[in-house]
């Protein structure tokens, strides 16, 4: 079973600070990491490989320092990494096209695994978009995957419905955070990952030059004006003050 996992390097949003004056996020100096749900995708790939054998290739579109992040995924259990060095301007169209071309170049694959969405943008567009480009079936929001030899069955969390979908290979699957608990690699595995290959492919070697179809023209802050009145003394006093405040706000009626 040959599995390709698409992973994204993102800023660690939990470490992100907001400029108190402009309310805009400060992006400089925020640590980078692999988007959490992509680690669930790797974990699932390892489980499938444990069952059927095969090879796991991780593909990332990103700057050259993303190599360090790919090493973490190799330490977890992926066999090989591919880093597609990105141009400065990119949108979902460009990233998806580069991933699809890289997947075609890798050639033989049964399953493409992605996280349901990246934690920075949370669109969930890239997975199904790549499936559309490759013209293969898509199984999204998988909470449980049973990969058999010639087909896979997955239970998908579609919000108000749970949908069980079956597909032959090749198939693209996106997973949710609940599907598994990503492993922490041991020291031996971390050291061993240094010997696993990471290939760097330039965007230009995969496709003709692509222009974005959508451009981010501004990143605005979100003003959050709250009263921030906190009662922290005696519980009885606090509760009384809160109830009085809520009554004045007119919500107790």
């Amino acid at each position: 079973m040959n599995i390709i996992v698409c992973a994204k390097q993102v800023v660690d949003v939990s470490e992100m600070k907001v400029d108190s004056k402009t309310k805009k996020p400060i992006l400089q100096g925020v640590p980078q990491k692999i988007s959490d749900i992509d680690k669930n995708a790797i974990e699932e790939a390892i489980k499938i490989k444990d069952k059927h054998g095969g090879k796991i290739t991780v593909v990332t579109v990103g700057p050259s320092d993303a190599k360090e992040r790919i090493k973490e995924l190799l330490a977890m259990g992926a066999d090989e990494g591919v880093l597609i060095s990105s141009t400065d301007k990119y949108d979902y169209r460009i990233v998806s096209s580069l991933l699809a071309e890289a997947i075609k170049k890798i050639g033989e694959y049964d399953i493409v695994l992605c996280g349901e969405a990246s934690i920075d943008m949370f669109s969930g567009q890239v997975g199904p978009r790549v499936a559309g480009l490759l013209n293969i079936p898509q199984i999204t929001y998988a909470q449980n995957i049973n990969a058999e030899k010639d087909k896979t069955v997955a239970m998908r969390n579609m919000g108000d419905k749970s949908v069980t979908t079956e597909s032959s290979y090749p198939v693209l699957i996106t997973v949710t955070k609940e599907i598994n608990e990503p492993r922490l690699p041991s020291l031996m595995q971390i050291l061993g990952a240094a010997n696993k290959p990471i290939n760097e492919w330039s965007a230009g070697s995969l496709t003709k030059e692509l222009q974005p179809k959508v451009e981010t023209i501004e990143l605005k802050g979100i003003p959050m004006q709250r009263k921030n009145i906190v009662y922290k003394d005696d519980v009885d006093d606090s509760v009384k003050k809160l109830v009085d405040s809520l009554a004045k706000e007119g919500v107790l009626r």
Binding site: S14, P25, Y92, R93, S96, A100, D120, M121, F122, S123, G124, Q125, P128, R129, V130, G132, L133, P137, Q138, T140, Y141, M158, G159, D160, K161, S162, V163, T164, T165, E166, S167, S168, K177, E178, P212, K213, V214, E215, T216, I217, E218, L219, I222, R226, K227, N228, I229, V230, Y231, K232, V235, S238, V239, K240, L242, V243, L246, E249, V251, L252
Partner: protein, 318 residues
């Protein structure tokens, strides 16, 4: 032309409002798409809510499959020459829009909370970085595919005098290597946090599933009756069904009063409730992030605070 599609009727009606506004500005029409069995009643309803035309793609499909729906919508797009495609942003809609964008190599933005024309180009806004910022995105190509979550726009007022055409066309469904084996409704009850005016929510501060009754009791006396929760309670512990889950990947709510109990205030949760009119936080940790997003807060043990709060609210409301 502006095309509107959702497999959810209410979402379609909301999209028709924005769709007809954009269409007017462009001097074009707005067309609603129905995929599946022909339904004149539904088509007429769409017209009374602003559609200039309803395109019924008659196909034989039992349940939603993004592969097949994308194939049909691709044909409808060719047929109608739509420039802007608005799709309802439930999970089906996001899957469909993204796949369609791949098939057409088109620009696509998911979960837009604002849409307008700027320099004659479709410009949209979406929340990014876990609710820390809004990205303003501009399309420089057609067709432009956008998904819009529920409750972002209200439907237009129903106007039975508004007229429109109904067009029907039969389509063959492409074969797909995947198939839906089973569709199961998630256990729901009557919870609808998105429409609730008062919500009391619980988080990891609760020690056991039984303790959630403390939250329902407060919700009950507040006459809100609606209980919400953060991700761990629904997704990991499964103490409540996902209908109660409020947050970035759960439901987005905007009640008059939101009470967060034992919720630390991770930005993912804030993203789901930040539009509430009044936010109250109860947490034993004075440093908890939730207080930064709250109008009123009590630092204290929820097991002590909640029963007292419930009883005092009960007295006050008489």
């Amino acid at each position: 032309m502006v095309l509107v599609f959702s497999d959810n009727k209410n979402l379609s009606l909301e999209l028709l409002n924005k769709g007809s506004e954009l269409a007017k500005e462009l001097g074009k029409n707005v067309t609603a798409v129905i995929i599946g069995e022909s339904d004149d009643g539904l088509a007429k309803e769409y017209i009374s809510y602003g559609a200039d035309k309803v395109f019924i793609a008659e196909v034989d499909i039992d349940s939603f499959e993004a592969e097949k729906y994308a194939g049909i919508l691709e044909k409808v797009l060719k047929e109608t020459g739509a420039e802007i495609v608005l799709i309802g942003s439930n999970k089906n809609g996001k899957d469909l829009a993204s796949r369609l964008a791949g098939r057409l190599d088109a620009g696509c933005v998911i979960d837009c909370t604002n849409l307008y024309l700027k320099d004659k180009k479709l410009t949209v806004e979406r929340v990014v970085y876990s609710g820390n910022a809004i990205a303003v995105e501009q399309f420089n190509s057609k067709p432009s595919i956008v998904t819009i979550p529920s409750k972002v726009f209200d439907p237009l007022k129903k106007d039975d005098k508004h007229s429109g055409d109904i067009v029907k066309k039969k389509f063959d469904v492409e074969k797909s290597a995947s198939k839906v084996l089973k569709v199961q409704e998630m256990q729901t009850g009557d919870v609808n946090v998105e429409d609730a005016e008062i919500i009391v929510s619980c988080g990891r501060g609760f020690k056991s599933k039984d303790d959630i009754k403390l939250v329902s009791e407060l919700a009950e006396v507040l006459k809100g009756k609606t209980v919400g929760c953060s991700r761990p309670i629904a997704a990991d512990l499964k103490w409540l069904s996902e209908d109660h889950w409020i947050g970035l990947s759960g439901h987005k709510v905007k009640p008059k009063l939101y009470v967060a109990v034992g919720i630390s205030g991770q930005i993912q949760h804030i993203a789901g409730m930040r539009d509430s009119s009044i936010i109250v936080a109860i947490n034993k940790d004075p440093e908890a992030l939730i207080f930064k997003s709250a109008d009123y807060g009590i630092v204290g043990d929820l097991y002590e605070v909640l029963p007292k709060l419930t009883s005092m609210v009960k007295d006050k409301m008489g």
